[in-house]
Amino acid sequence: MIEIRWHGRGGQGSFTASKLLGVAVTLYGSKHALAFPSFGPERRGAPMQAFTKIDDVRIRDRSEITRCDYIVVLDETLYRQELLSDLKEEGKLILNASRPEKYQEQGGSRIIALDATSVALEILNRPITNTAMLGALIGVSGITGVESVLEGMSHFLKGSLLDKNRQVVSRIYDEARRLQDEPTRIAQIR
């Protein structure tokens, strides 16, 4: 089972990202998935988590995720080094950071930092990075093909918002793929 935990603030779309991934791997892939938010009230700006569990077989265990294959942090202010101890041995933390190089020493190859906010601002005109970080996750992990994500996005996004978010995903995905071949694994995307 692949277990992913999304960290963001209310209003940043972490839960939507977890659902978009779920749609991609189930309806446009051949896997099973559960996508759920940290249970509780949704308050704008408050730290929240979302979860995606992915497996080849039906997932029965609905308990919370404590050991993650991937932790995706949408908001840099929510990053703390202790998060790394929640990763499985080969796990990775994917971080949205304004200066990605800052994290090079902290986590080594376990942290993959990208400036998703700049891309979101450029394409969406808003600092909403959920789809960008989904693209980054897919690029880094190869959990599913980027095409399945781009197709699946139509289930939760419509119109020009869908088009623009597809651009965001494609852009970051390519960048993240490129990062996989670089030793430093940091990027300043412009």
Partner: protein
């Protein structure tokens, strides 16, 4: 074949309601049930559900309106949760006594005080005696499918009893997963239109929702009780018919998982059953003879199934997401009563956990099996234990 979709439990229930072709929907939104009300309102608006959506000012009114609609022979749906359910308490008894086959979803959530919007079973378990059939589902698919099955059971002329479909708040209501949405034609084949003589009818006038006196009240209540008992036979039958059309089956009042040669069994209700199954699989791989008995219906209570599944095992742990204050978990009381009648000499322990949304982890379930084994090995066990509390307490000393 139906259509595959990635839905949350609330949305799956809304799809089940759509496919049941109700005439009237009356519900008041409350976390974590709100989404089912929103989806149904949208479906009525866009015409995919040809029902009257009654906007009401409270849960008490929602169920009162549902009764009024049901009393003219309309297929009626409502939904609620927690404080809303207990606000309906008066109407719950009214609806079952009036033999109105309303189907209602309840998103299981804790009861105040302390205020909590998170899940546990205290809301519905505290209303076990209100005369409603109570089913607890494990995933979104079962939730959708049970809406269709619930109408088939509730509306049967020998049952005429309302059904409460319980989904664990958030864990089921807010979790998105793969769901197969059945075809409209198949749903029609499974669930014919509601026909009843128990309705206000100008051509056949009758007295409904009347008063009783000491000379006849017991007879009415006995008939109501027998209607519920009749449902017991009908539940497995309905599931069999459902399987022949849709290819999915949930068994009867209970579902036994790896229980055949099991020595230690955990009895569970609702979505935590999935975690129990996963742990049972792991322990089986380690050589333990363990199983899980999922109770699907708390009313009518599956006494015979429980005795059949558990009478020859060595030890049973009953997992409750509720406390009957001053005693023990309600599920445990019911299971213990059944096993006692069978005269079974089994170690029985009650584990209370998951209150107010606390996570029940695989480690917790593992611990339950281990405590059963410890008990069999002569290590004294408290009768009631609390998961995740950190200390063991037994009020009965």
């Amino acid at each position: 074949m139906g259509q595959r979709a990635f839905l949350c439990g609330n949305e799956a229930v809304a799809e089940g309601v759509r496919l049941s072709a109700p005439h009237v929907i009356a519900a008041y939104p409350i976390t974590p049930q709100t989404v089912v009300v929103e989806r149904l309102a949208e479906m009525v608006e866009d015409g995919s559900v040809k029902a009257e959506f009654m906007h009401v000012e409270s849960e008490h009114s929602a169920l009162s309106a549902s009764m009024g609609a049901s009393a003219v022979g309309a297929r009626t749906f409502s939904s609620t949760s927690s404080q809303g359910l207990v606000y309906m308490a008066e109407c719950l008894h009214y609806a079952s006594g009036g033999r109105f086959p309303i189907v209602m979803m309840n998103a299981n959530r804790s009861l105040a005080l302390p205020w909590s919007i998170y899940g546990d079973h205290r809301d519905s378990m505290s209303l076990l005696d209100c005369g409603w059939i109570q089913v607890y589902t494990e995933d979104a698919q079962e939730s959708l499918d049970m809406v269709l099955q619930a109408y088939a059971i509730a509306e049967h002329p020998e049952v005429l009893t309302p059904v409460m479909i319980n989904l664990d708040g958030f864990v089921l209501t807010h979790t998105y997963e793969l769901v197969d949405i059945p075809d409209w034609e198949q749903a029609r084949e499974f669930l014919p239109p509601y026909e009843t003589v128990n309705k206000l009818d100008f051509d056949a006038p009758k007295n409904m929702a009347f008063s009783s006196n000491p000379g006849n009240n017991l007879e009415f209540k006995l008939r109501q009780h027998r209607g519920m008992l009749r449902a017991k036979e009908l539940i497995a039958e309905t599931d069999g018919r459902f399987q022949s059309i849709f290819g999915r089956s949930y068994g009867g009042l209970t579902e036994a998982y790896r229980c055949d040669d099991a020595e230690l069994i955990v009895v569970s209700v609702g979505s935590v059953t999935g975690t129990c199954r996963t742990v049972a699989d792991e322990l089986r791989n380690e050589g333990w003879k363990v199983g899980v008995l999922k109770i699907r219906f708390m009313r009518p209570f599956p006494e015979e199934e429980i005795i059949a599944a558990l009478r020859n095992v060595k030890a049973v742990a009953v997992l409750d997401k509720d406390i009957s204050f001053g005693y023990e978990g309600t599920v445990f009381t019911n299971v213990n009563s059944a096993l006692s009648k069978a005269g079974a000499e089994i170690l029985k322990l009650n584990f209370i956990g998951g209150l107010g949304g606390r996570d029940i982890s695989k480690d917790h379930i593992r611990e339950m099996y281990r405590r059963l084994q410890d008990g069999l090995d002569g290590i004294a066990q408290e009768n009631v234990q609390y998961l995740g509390l950190g200390v063991a307490i037994d009020e009965r000393g």
